[in-house]
């Protein structure tokens, strides 16, 4: 039973991962990524980590990939990209090298460090009663690892404040949104400010 679930989930994960890389359309790639994340959630359930499985779906599939899709749609880059252009010089050889070393690392782990896949759960028994998993996780996070949790919270807050500061820097009074009159665009002294006013109106 466990082995069957693992094989099905692993197939979904690998299929999704390959789809992400091979899709020419960014939206399709994001959808394959959702498939991969779901497969990982199934593996979490298989390991009796039900809380992690739920959080995996809520946070990754429900928030992060949605955000990807949102940006893709709003920026209108949902067309197949021209692969002839290399945006960052030397990016592709470097990616090949890093990818090959990752494969080597994983193969080493698989062949040397482990006796071979056992098909068994990492834990030998579920943690206590049915609700025990979530409870244990909460206790560990807010007692042993409370410092790390607080630091992460601080980091996220700094990131949010930073994003707000970067995206909404107000320098001087903003210009009103240019009307249909073409002269207003020519006479507008700060086109940057006009753009920002438009953006804010859209928000």
């Amino acid at each position: 039973m466990d082995a069957t679930v693992f094989i099905v989930a692993a197939t979904i994960i690998m299929g999704g991962a390959i789809g992400v890389v091979l899709s020419r359309n960014p939206v399709h790639a994001a959808l394959f990524l959702v498939g991969t994340l779901f497969g990982v959630a199934v593996l979490f359930v298989l390991q009796d980590a039900t809380f992690l499985a739920a959080v995996q779906v809520i946070v990754y599939a429900g928030a992060i990939v949605i955000l990807f899709l949102f940006v893709i749609m709003l920026l209108g880059v949902d067309r197949a990209e021209d692969l002839g252009v290399e945006p960052i010089a030397g990016q592709r050889p470097l990616a090949a090298v890093i990818g090959a070393s990752m494969v080597g690392l994983l193969l080493t782990v698989l062949l040397v460090a482990v006796d071979g896949p056992t098909g068994k759960s990492a834990t030998t028994a579920p943690l206590g009663d049915a609700g025990g998993n979530t409870r244990r996780l909460g206790e560990a996070l807010f007692t042993d690892y409370v410092f790390a949790v607080e630091l992460t919270a601080l980091l996220l807050t700094v990131a949010v404040v930073g994003a707000v500061v970067l995206s909404r820097r107000v320098t001087g009074p903003l210009q009103p949104i240019p009307g249909p009159d073409p002269r207003s665009e020519q006479s507008g002294d700060t086109p940057d400010g006009a753009d920002r006013a438009e953006e804010e109106a859209a928000q």
């Binding site: 039973m1 499985a53 739920a54 809520i58 429900g62 949102f70 049915a130 998993n133 903003l174």
Partner: protein, 405 residues
């Protein structure tokens, strides 16, 4: 694997357990479909009454078969596929909308006696089982996970249509659903603090003696849940996702025939499921007095359906009464009112829990907590007002301090 806390699986899985599970799945499936059929009729009839007209009256007695007739008509209509559509995603989207709507109902306990220490199980084919399809240990988190999956259906439907009005509708819908999911989750977190469990049957069992969570959490999370839930459903007054005057039909403009029917089905099914979840979380689920002992098993089911019906009536009532929100008002309500309020209330309940554990005087904790919340909200509204006046100065005016929008 721990699949569920249901006593059904305690003695292993055999043929009879399988039959019980299939029976529960089948009943839940059929129940939802029939409920949707009646709900659409109920809404049209009720709106008709509220607007002083008759409503559907032709198909069947009181027009009760109107939905069935509409469904058959939609089924035989031509299935259009726009030229610019992304075919695979266009075909996939309705199912991404419909499947979460079905699955969410699986965690709702629709019956069972939880009073006097009873564990809410009933006997089916000689096996003890809970009257819900699944009782996973993460319980209500499954609802949050599935409602975040349902966003994909709406979002991809609009994008894959390859047309601008559906795209605008789906961008609006996605922004709205993500924004209100935060408030929804925070109000549910208050219930966790009071119940001490994630499992739906556990939450219902904790409300067995009239101590319903709506009072135990102090009403505010319930109100936030209802408002955020209405927005999550894209129901009026938060239905600017499909504002006909601006967006034609919103994200499903390009859909026709049975695919459109699937979206319609999912919308009404979500409404029923959201009502059922609200009843489970805040209104005691199937708990209620048992009035006649002879049919004792039936009363919890009856109470559950009555409570759900009250919610459904309210949704229709809201639609007939309130005008639609403007987009900026919607975002303001979500981010500047509902999320801070539910977060503050969550902190207050957490403080009360600590006070109870440590034996601190409750009155003092409530007073200090309220003062802290008031100070926090004053700071927040001050900051919002300041940001608003800095953003929108009057044209040609340098005096930005004196302006408040």
């Amino acid at each position: 694997m721990v699949l569920a806390a249901d006593p059904l699986f305690d003695a292993g899985v055999d043929g009879r357990v399988l039959v019980v599970v299939l029976l529960k799945v089948g009943v839940a499936f059929a129940l939802l479909l029939v409920a949707v059929m009646l709900m659409i009729w109920f809404e049209r009839k009720l709106i008709g009454d509220m607007q002083n007209r008759i409503g559907p009256a032709v198909a069947g007695p009181w027009g009760i078969l109107q939905t069935l007739a509409d469904g058959i008509k939609l089924f035989f209509k031509e299935d259009l596929l726009p030229d610019q559509a992304d075919r695979t995603v266009f075909r996939l989207a309705p199912y991404l909308s419909l499947v979460p709507a079905f699955l969410t109902f699986a965690i709702v306990p629709i019956g069972g006696n939880f009073t006097d220490g009873a564990d809410g199980t009933v006997s089916l084919l000689g096996r003890r089982t809970l009257l819900q399809v699944a009782d996973p240990p993460v319980g209500i988190l499954l609802f949050l996970a599935l409602s975040s999956i349902a966003v994909y259906g709406v979002m991809l439907a609009g994008w894959s249509s390859g047309s601008k009005y559906p795209l605008l509708g789906s961008v609006r819908a996605t922004a709205q659903m993500i924004s209100y999911e935060a408030a929804l989750g925070l109000s549910i977190a208050s219930v966790f603090l009071v119940s001490g469990t994630l499992s739906t049957s556990g939450i219902v069992a904790g409300q067995a003696t009239w101590n319903w969570n709506v009072a135990a959490t102090g009403v505010v999370p319930f109100l936030v849940f209802v408002v955020a839930g209405t927005a999550e459903l894209n129901r009026p007054p938060f239905d600017l996702v499909e504002a006909e005057q601006e967006l034609v039909g919103g994200f499903h403009t390009e859909y026709s025939s049975i695919r459109f029917a699937l979206f319609y089905l999912a919308e009404f099914m979500n409404m029923i499921t959201m009502s059922a979840i609200a009843v489970t979380l805040f209104l005691g689920g199937p708990n209620g007095p048992i009035l006649i002992d002879g049919i004792a098993w039936m009363w919890p089911i009856l109470w559950f359906f009555l409570k759900v019906l009250a919610f459904l009536f309210t949704f229709v009532w809201l639609r007939a009464t309130l005008p639609r929100f403007r987009y900026d008002q919607l975002m303001d309500l979500g981010w500047k009112v509902l999320i801070p309020v539910s977060l503050g209330w969550f902190l207050l309940i957490a403080a009360l829990n600590v006070a109870r554990d440590r034996g601190w005087p409750v009155i003092v904790v409530v007073a200090v907590g309220m003062l802290a919340l008031l100070a926090g909200s004053a700071l927040l509204s001050g900051a919002i007002a300041k940001a608003g006046s800095a953003e929108r100065p009057a044209v040609g005016s340098d005096d930005r301090e004196g302006l408040h929008s």
